[in-house]
C-alpha cells in the first residue's frame, strides 16, 4: 500500500469512460478467477491454477495501455493479464477445462495459456523464463523495424532467478522496446519473498542495470495506468527498456487449493481493506460516476462469466489426433519402437 491514491475530483480532467471500462475489466478478471476456483472444486478445471484475485489493477492498468498487436508475456498467474490483453474468456475457460476450442486446443492448460491473435505470447510454467523470451521478441521487433512494444510481467519471486539479470541486461544493451513489470504480491508460493530477496528489490536491481524504474501502488489503478502510459510512451520514443515495480497482494493461496495457513490473517485483512476494485469504485464515485453504472460493472461481469462457464462445461474434449500434431514437422511423433 505504497503512495496515496491519486487525487481525483468531479472537476479534475479525469477520464471517467476510461476508468469505468477498467472497472469492467477488473470485475471480469475477478469473476473469471472466482469461477475458475469454483470449477476446480467441481473437477472441471483439471490442473493447478494460480488465481490473481486482488491483483486485478496491475493486469487492467498495464494492458489498457497496450495496442492489440503489442506483445505481452505473462506467468503461471496469468489469467488476468490474458483477459485484459483481449483474449476470449470462453476460449480461456475451455483451456482450463481441457476442452475443444481452448486457446491452446486443450494442450496447455492454465499455465500455458497463449493467444497470439491478441499478442499474448504465453503464460509460462517456469518462473522468470519469459523474461529472456520477451527480450528476444523485442529484439525481433527492432530487427524488423516495427513500432510495436513488448510488456513482460513476472512475479516478485522471479527477480532472484538468473534470467532476470540476463534478460534486463540484454534489453538495455540492445536498447529494446520492452517494459518489465514486477507484479509483487508479497509471496513466492508459501514464502514471504522479502526474506529470500537481498537489497531493496526489483527497481534497485533494474536501476543498477541502467533501466529507469519506478515503484508504485499496484492496487491503485490510476497510478498503474499513468505509470504504464508514461513507460510505454518512452518505449515508443526509443528510450529503451524500463521496469515498473507494482506492489500488490495475493488475496488467495498460492494455488486455488492452498489455504495459506502460513499467512497472518491480520495482514490479509489489511489488504482486503485496500482491494483494488473497491478503491477504483470509490475513485469513480468521487469522480461522479453514477452508482448504477458502478454496480453494473460487477453484475455484467458475473453474468458473462456464468454463461462462459456453462458454455465451456458443455463443450466436448479435443480430438485425440491433436496429441500427435504440432510436435515438429520432421519425424513421426508416434515413433515408438513397439506398440
Amino acid at each position: 500500500m505504497t503512495g496515496d491514491p491519486s487525487p481525483v475530483t468531479k472537476e479534475s480532467n479525469f477520464d471517467r469512460e476510461r476508468f469505468t471500462a477498467m472497472l469492467d475489466t477488473m470485475w471480469r478478471i475477478r469473476a473469471f478467477e472466482e469461477l475458475a476456483v469454483r470449477s476446480l472444486a467441481e473437477g472441471l478445471v483439471l490442473g493447478a491454477i494460480h488465481p490473481s484475485i486482488g491483483q486485478e489493477a496491475v493486469a487492467a492498468g498495464i494492458c489498457c495501455n497496450m495496442a492489440r498487436d503489442d506483445l505481452l508475456l505473462s506467468t503461471h498467474r496469468g489469467h488476468g493479464h490474458t483477459l485484459a490483453k483481449g483474449a476470449d474468456p470462453l476460449a480461456m475457460m475451455r483451456e482450463l477445462f481441457g476442452r475443444a476450442g481452448g486457446t491452446c486446443g486443450g494442450k496447455g492448460g492454465s499455465m500455458h495459456i497463449a493467444d497470439f491473435d491478441v499478442g499474448m505470447l504465453g503464460a509460462n510454467g517456469v518462473v522468470a523464463a519469459n523474461i529472456p523470451i520477451a527480450a528476444g521478441a523485442a529484439h525481433a521487433l527492432k530487427l524488423r523495424g516495427e513500432k510495436r512494444v513488448v510488456v513482460c510481467i513476472f512475479g516478485d519471486g522471479a527477480i532472484n532467478r538468473g534470467p532476470f539479470l540476463e534478460g534486463l541486461n540484454w534489453a538495455k544493451v540492445f536498447n529494446l522496446p520492452v517494459l518489465f513489470v514486477c507484479e509483487d504480491n508479497n509471496f513466492s508460493a508459501t514464502t514471504h519473498t522479502f526474506a529470500m530477496t537481498a537489497g531493496p528489490g526489483a527497481a534497485a536491481r533494474a536501476e543498477s542495470l541502467g533501466l529507469p524504474a519506478q515503484t508504485i501502488d499496484g492496487n491503485d489503478i490510476v497510478a498503474v495506468d499513468s505509470a504504464a502510459r508514461a513507460a510505454i510512451a518512452a518505449l515508443h520514443a526509443g528510450e529503451g527498456p524500463r521496469l515498473l515495480h507494482c506492489k500488490t497482494y495475493r488475496m488467495t493461496g498460492h494455488t486455488a487449493v492452498d489455504p495459506a495457513a502460513y499467512r497472518d490473517p491480520a495482514e490479509l485483512e489489511r489488504w482486503r481493506g485496500a482491494d483494488p476494485i473497491d478503491r477504483l469504485s470509490e475513485v469513480l464515485r468521487v469522480a461522479g460516476v453514477a452508482e448504477p453504472r458502478i454496480a453494473e460493472a460487477k453484475a455484467k461481469a458475473y453474468s458473462e462469466m456464468e454463461e462462459i462457464y456453462a458454455a465451456a462445461r458443455d463443450t466436448g474434449w479435443p480430438d485425440v489426433a491433436a496429441a500427435f500434431q504440432d510436435v515438429q514437422d520432421l519425424g513421426d511423433p508416434r515413433e515408438r519402437p513397439f506398440s
Binding site: 483439471l46 496447455g108 499455465m111 513466492s188 508460493a189 500427435f324 511423433p333 515408438r336 519402437p337 506398440s339
Partner: protein, 328 residues
Amino acid sequence: MSDMTYLEAGRRAVIEEMRRDERVWALGEDLGRGGVFGQYKGLAEMFGAQRVTDTPISEACIMGAAVGAAMTGTRPIVEMRFSDFALCAIDELVNQAAKARYMFGGQMRVPMVVREPMGMWRSSAAQHSQSLEAWYTHIPGLVVVAPATPEDNLGLLKSAIRNDDPVVYLEHKDLWGLTGPVPEGEHLTPLGEAQIVREGDAVTVVTWSAMRHRCMKAAEALEAEGVAIEVIDLRTLWPWDRDTVFASVEKTGRLLVVHEAVAVSGFGAEIAASVAEGLHHRLKAPVRRLGAPRIPIAYAPPLEDKARVTQDAIIDAVRGLLASAQAA
C-alpha cells in the same frame, strides 16, 4: 512392518539421516513450510531453519551452492521441486557436481543428493510432467535412483544420503500417496540392486518407478491367461543390476522394458541394447521396449493419455513376445 505412504517414508529417511549425521542438511524452496508436496513437513521445526533451509527461487544457485557445500564438509539434500525445474541447473549438476571429483584428480568428493520429483501427474502439462532419467544415466559421475514403493523410498533415500558421490534421486509425483509396509527399525536398501517383484518364466519385464505398479497389474491379468511374467524393479538406474536382469532373461528368453519416459533414447534402449548384445543367442523373441511416444505431455486428459503406457499396452506387448517366439 507398519504401513506408511511413499511421501512419509521419504520424510522418515531424511529425519533418520539428519539425526544420524549432523553434516546432512536440506535446501530448497518452501521447505520451511514442508515443501511443495509436504515431504519436509515439520523438519524445520525439528532441526532448525539452518539445516532445513528455505531458498530463493534460484535453481542454479541451489544446485551450485550444494556443490560448494558438499566440497566443504557437509552433505546437502537438494530439493528441485519438479524434475523439470532441474533443467535450470544442468550446468551445475552435469558440468560441476558430476565432474568435480574426477577433474580435480580425486582431491575431494561431492556427496549430495538431488531430489527431483518426476513423472506424469494428472493434467500437469508439458513443463511439469517429464521423466528424464535417461539423461542422467548418460553422465559419468552420477548415480541415478528411482524408488517405486514406500519401503524403497525409505531404504534407497537413506543409502543415497550416505553415498559419497552425487545421486540424482527421482521420486515419482504420482506415488506420494501410495501406502505400503515399511520395516520398523533401521532399513537401508543397497544402491545398485534390482528387486524381483514377481517371479515368472514367460517374459522378463524390467521396469522402475510408477510403472512397476502398472506392470504388476498386467502380471495379474496375464496370470488369468496362465502367463507368468517376471517383474523386475530396477530401483537404481545407474549402476543398474545387470546380473539380475541377465539371469532372468537367460531363464525366460524374452525381455520387455517398460518405462514412462519417451521411448526414443529412453533408458529402456540401454537395457534392451545390452541384453540384445549379451544374450542374443539365448533370446526366444526380439527384445522389446515400451515407452511414451515422442510428444510433449498435453493438459487435456484424452490427449495426455496418449503419452501414457497403459496396462493393455503392456499385456499386448507380452502376448506379442510370446507369439513372435512361436514365429521364430
